[in-house]
Amino acid sequence: MAIAATTRRLSASERLRRSLGNGRVTAALILLPPALLIFTLFVMLPLGESVWYSFFNWNGYGAPTDFVGLENYQRIAGHSIFHKAVGNTLKIVAISILLQMPLALLLALLIYRKTPTNAVFRLIFFLPFILAEVAAGLIWSFVFDGNYGVTASIAQSFGAESFFILADRDWAFVAVMTVIVWKYFGFHMMIYIAALQSVPEDLIEAARIEGAKRRQIVRYVQIPHIKPAIIVSAFFAIIGALQVFDIIIPLTNGGPSNQTHTIVTYLYTFGLTRLNIGFGSAVGVILFFAAITVAIFYQRFFMGKDKA
């Protein structure tokens, strides 16, 4: 047993010597420092600072002096609007996975083949994703306007009373989610299209000759083949949900009465605009740990297996 371990260690050092010989380590030594430096300067240091600030009640003026320990975290944990914001973020994750991704997959299956018409449709579906988030948010705030918006005219043309969805505490977030689905389905669709195009044509051909119907081909040939792409797109959807910010600010600004916040708009509103920098930092730290937990778990349980 001991001997086996020694041989393994020996072979490891042997491997190191060999890799030194072929210049891999040298390359790493040359290429790593700049990246490491930038990462440290712009990610690790601010992160450490945030953790430090999160223990203070600090309004951003001068240096933080009022040490409050974990009180900021306690306040966040007991804040009903933070609970709402977390709930909203989870809702975005759910809607992305349950509605946005299937929709994107369906459209991808319809238009993944390279034909001129498909190219036009691809462009149309991808257009919302190209638009800047702030512009999209503004456009939709006009669309949803109850006085002169498109939704108002549609309601009126059906003889219904016009409604003010963005002013409604219960429905405003539905409007926000609609815009998010509209904005990002094109992105997921593109991932699927790229993956679908790499499914070998002869495999589909073979299935067809065996008598498989269209639905069966999709179910048993295409989807299993693009599974890595689906896993990646779900990962983007979840991380994206944790980051939603710039659509909400012009659309509802978190309102009416703080019903449509996500974690990031919550951080911005209650941390930055109100100059509670310590409090905001604490929210940032929580968000960071949420993101990293998601990333690690996801890597471990979904992405690790098939080395996507």
Partner: protein, 419 residues
């Protein structure tokens, strides 16, 4: 060769001379205003530059919300402005505590202090040090669209108490007229109601007592009663449909377009509301202003005469040169304040300048403020960014019936405890 050298020397000479000519730069940062108003400041800057060799005055403008969020960062940087726009209140206190401001009491020209009313100077004084100067005062008033009130048979001159106002709202509703226009999405237009009601219920000292932590603080009876009275109004659904999705700018244009009868807003909206309307706005004959109704049986007497508004002005940063303070005094001298009144740019705060106000509405507001027992600065500014925003939040929540008056008061107190 020689000639080239001389030319070079000459060139060098002119550049150094040029540099010497503009030695002192005074940077002034202000919340964005319209072109006419910018011109007013540009004229003042030019007049000052003409009198002072080697001084360069630069005005910079940033939009309202962006200004508030950018200022703290700017003040900590080297790009800190010398003079910047301020609403006074806790924000000024915090800035002074952090050492970003400069005590200018000893640096003003002789006799200058006396041209400004003491109450307005008080707004820029922290612990006996003067950190800036007041520029103008504003008042929140109830704007009335008289065409609509007459049409509904409401006599606005009879509105004195809150009950009168509530019954006027009811009459308007019965006649199918939208009683009140408000910009609920921005929340602060709604906080005027809560603040005014608290002032009327609790008297002039209601806010300072609460800030001092005496009694129940912001959970005292006056604040809870204010919430109750406010909800008496909101339960009647007096606002335009979808008011929580309406911004201040939109609501301002809506009122000017005749969408509703009342509009609780500062006097500053007189011109902007016309600019924002699609119909050109209401004429002076169709407009009227009345002071906020009084409470007939308040918790504490004395609030009936108080006014709510702002004493806006300029704060002086720690990096400002003596020339900057000289410029500030110049900018606020009687002549310039009088000019502002004549051009209807703002209602000047300097003593004896309000007679230059040509506009009837401005003259009325100036009169209100002068005769006011106490001029309370907007609570969302006065209490600082964090507590102020909480006041805005609870005002919007109260308006939608999402919280009770007790919960609202408790939230403000909590924010105050942890400011």
């Amino acid at each position: 060769m020689k000639r080239t050298l001389t030319t070079l020397a000459l060139l060098a000479g002119t550049t150094t001379a040029g540099a010497a000519a503009a030695q002192t730069e005074i940077s002034v940062l202000r919340v964005a205003i319209n072109e006419e108003q910018e011109q007013y400041y540009e004229d003042i800057a030019q007049a000052f530059e003409a009198e002072h060799d080697g001084v360069d005055v630069n005005f910079e403008y940033i939009a309202n919300e962006a200004y508030k969020s950018k200022l703290p960062t700017l003040l900590q940087s080297d790009a800190r402005p010398d003079i910047f726009y301020s609403w006074g209140g806790q924000t000024l206190v915090q800035q002074s505590e952090a050492g970003f401001l400069q005590d200018i009491s000893g640096m003003l020209p002789e006799g200058f202090r006396e041209t400004l009313p003491e109450a307005a100077l008080e707004a820029y004084t922290v612990d006996g040090s003067l950190y800036g100067l007041p520029l103008y005062a504003t008042e929140v008033v109830l704007w009335v669209n008289t065409t609509l009130t007459e049409q509904a048979g409401v006599d606005v001159d009879q509105i004195e108490t809150w009950e009168d106002f509530l019954s006027a709202v009811q009459t308007l509703k019965d006649e199918g007229v939208t009683p009140i226009i408000t910009g609920g999405q921005d929340k602060w237009p709604l906080h005027f109601y809560w603040s005014y009601l608290a002032l009327r219920e609790g008297g002039p000292d209601v806010v300072s007592t609460a800030m001092g932590g005496e009694g129940d603080g912001f959970e005292s009876e006056a604040f809870i009663e204010a919430g109750r009275e406010f909800q008496k109004l909101t339960e009647m659904e007096p606002f335009q449909e979808g008011f929580m999705g309406t911004t201040y700018e939109t609501s301002s244009g809506m009122f000017a377009d005749g969408a509703g009868a009342f509009y609780l807003m500062g006097d500053w909206d007189y011109l902007p509301m016309r600019e924002r309307s699609t119909s050109g706005g209401l004429s002076d004959e169709e407009l009227k202003i009345i002071t906020f109704p009084v409470i007939s049986d308040p918790v504490t007497e004395g609030g009936a005469e108080a006014t709510l508004g702002g004493i806006n002005g300029w704060a002086v940063s720690s990096s400002a040169e003596p020339e900057a303070i000289e410029f500030l005094a110049f900018m606020l001298n009687e002549e310039n304040q009088r000019k502002a009144a004549e051009q209807e740019i703002f209602i000047p705060v300097a003593k004896g300048t309000s007679d230059a106000l040509q506009n009837d509405f401005y003259a009325q507001v100036a009169e209100h403020i002068e005769s006011s027992a106490y001029h309370q600065i907007f609570l969302d500014q006065f209490l600082g960014a964090s507590v102020g925003a909480t006041v805005n939040d609870i005002s919007a929540d109260l308006a939608q019936g999402a919280v009770t008056p007790e919960e609202a008061a408790a939230q403000v107190q909590e924010a105050w405890d942890f400011r």
